[in-house]
Amino acid sequence: MHLILFLLFAGICLAGAINLLLQSHPISSALSLIVVMTSLAVLYLLLGAEFLAVAQVIVYGGAVMVLFTFVIMLLNAGREERTMGSRTARSVGFPAVVALLAIFATVILKTPGLGVARLSDGITSTEDLSRVLFHELLLPFEVTSVLILIAILGAVALASHGSGDPHGDQDHGKPERTSK
């Protein structure tokens, strides 16, 4: 059962990730990324991380991807164009990435002592997780809340910059240099 579920959702996950690379329209890529994140949530559940599975769906599949699709539609992002740079990136990128995957796979397969995962291993309950989080790691948790506050302020400051004065857009919109 575990094996079937793993193969099914790992396949969906990889198909979504590959589709993200193949699609040329950003909105298709964003929908593929949602597929990847949702199937990863199932894999987390198989590994006994129930809280993270739910958080993955809510935070990643919900909040972050809604933000992405919102920005794609706000900016009216169209198809990407093929340029000289993409050809260079392809010819250099593919061998480098294959080499990277080969290194990772060799290290993982040569590591001794990796066991097997079973469904009967039990799940980490949210109670255990929160006990560690709020007792031992309380300070990092609070620091993260400050980080998120700063991120919200930064996002608002960046996104609303220049929209107040009518002359600001003309200064910024000046084409400084066209591409070669």
Binding site: H2, A10, S179
Partner: protein, 103 residues
């Protein structure tokens, strides 16, 4: 037999997701898609964390994933705000045209 999966398969899947993210970062020419590839890399690393937390029965691995998720959410908010600011200034999302700091 079918009720168990080797831990290494999960790790290979995680490495593959990370590598696909790197590939997308290199070959995609749209700023938003490049940013989505970074999210894909983060997700690959998260799967690795959860797998090792399962392997060693350690709760702290899962808490690390929780922190990564929080930082990724903050990063997405700030990054997309930067993308909006770039689009206002340059009126393009193609990474080849945003080359002001290139030699």
């Amino acid at each position: 037999m079918t009720d168990q999966v080797p831990i290494s398969w999960y790790l290979i899947l995680s490495a593959t997701l990370f590598v696909l993210g790197v590939l997308g970062f290199l070959i995609k020419r749209n700023l938003i898609t490049v940013f989505m590839s970074i999210e894909l890399m983060l997700n690959g690393v998260n799967l690795s964390f959860v797998t090792f937390a399962h392997q060693w029965h350690a709760v702290k691995g899962q808490i690390f994933v929780f922190f990564v998720m929080m930082v990724a959410a903050a990063e997405a908010a700030v990054g997309l705000a930067i993308i909006i600011a770039i689009f206002r200034a340059r009126a393009t999302l193609a990474v080849d045209r945003i080359d002001l700091m290139k030699l």
